[in-house]
């Protein structure tokens, strides 16, 4: 038997790795994938709690989160294509026109 806190620790570790990836990576595609990883760690928490509390609501919410992730990936990748077309690079440090 595995205690539920073990699953939560795994989810938290994945979230931490996602945060680290957003901060240290220069590649805009890897940053987007780190965001996806953070969404997934939240999903794992939802699934774990709905198992323990014996309700399926968590699964329904995860379903909606998957939809939102798909929409976000589609729009985000379109923006990546647009940025690459304008700047010929995917280095996040080069997209600094709006930087104060």
């Amino acid at each position: 038997m595995v205690p539920i806190s073990a699953y939560l620790i795994v989810a938290v570790a994945l979230f931490g790795i996602g945060v680290l990836g957003v901060m240290i990576s220069r590649n805009i595609i890897i940053i987007m994938m780190s965001v996806e990883l953070m969404l997934n760690s939240a999903n794992l928490v939802l699934i774990a709690f709905s198992r323990v509390l014996n309700v399926v609501d968590g699964h329904a919410i995860v379903f909606l989160v998957l939809t939102v992730a798909a929409a976000e990936a589609a729009v985000g990748l379109a923006m990546v294509i647009l940025l690459y077309r304008n700047r010929e690079t995917i280095n996040i440090d080069r997209f600094n026109i709006l930087k104060w």
């Binding site: 205690p3 073990a6 901060m23 780190s34 609501d57 909606l64 929409a71 990748l77 995917i90």
Partner: protein, 194 residues
């Protein structure tokens, strides 16, 4: 050692390994593949938590569709491992970034340990789960009753995402209506014919 614990430990290690390899790769394609590895391991964890349908959805929708979309974009942009990403950041900023994410990990772990009080609850496939827990029937019933409005709103969200992605990624900005669209179509036809 029981079987549940072994499955959990192996898939947890694979999930975390894949995620951490993902953020340190220089080659974006290797990065996508490591993320797929991590997601498959997470799907095993879902199934262990008796979320069979959601585990299947994770593999089909995430690894099968979203990450393939990432691969398509990497292929279209023709990115290689040797992409110039500038000089490495200074040790100080690196230390700050690592410690911020580690602090976030510790903080969330504290919240989950202290706040839940659910440590006694043990789960696993060997545990008897309630009848049909996490089956498609149960999820569908919830989606069409309690979560009907959010579920229907996702269709609008997906429509907006499709239209938005097409508009954003178009070659020219629309300035005067139909003329630009026609020239775009003509350009597309020309490209196909060439």
């Amino acid at each position: 050692m029981n079987l549940d614990l072994i499955i959990f430990v192996v898939s947890a290690i694979v999930a975390i390994f894949g995620a951490s390899m993902m953020i340190f790769q220089r080659n974006p394609i290797a990065s996508v593949l490591f993320l797929i590895l991590s997601l498959v391991a997470q799907a095993v964890l879902y199934i262990q938590l008796s979320a069979l349908f959601m585990g299947a959805m994770l593999i089909i929708v995430y690894s099968g569709a979203i990450l393939v979309l990432f691969l398509f974009v990497i292929m279209m942009l023709n990115l290689r491992a040797g992409e110039d990403l500038g000089a490495p950041s200074s040790p100080i900023s690196k230390t700050v970034k690592y410690s911020i994410s580690f602090l976030m990990f510790v903080e969330l772990a504290f919240i989950f340990r202290g706040g839940t009080g659910l440590d006694s609850a043990a789960v696993g496939i060997m545990n008897t789960s309630p009848d049909n827990f996490g089956s498609i029937e149960q999820i569908a019933e919830l989606l069409f009753t309690r979560y009907l409005y959010p579920f229907e709103l996702t269709s609008i969200l997906l429509l907006a995402a499709i239209v938005g992605a097409v508009i954003i990624a178009r070659r020219d900005s629309v300035e005067d209506g139909s003329a630009v669209i026609e020239s775009n179509e003509q350009q597309a036809i020309d490209e196909v014919q060439n």
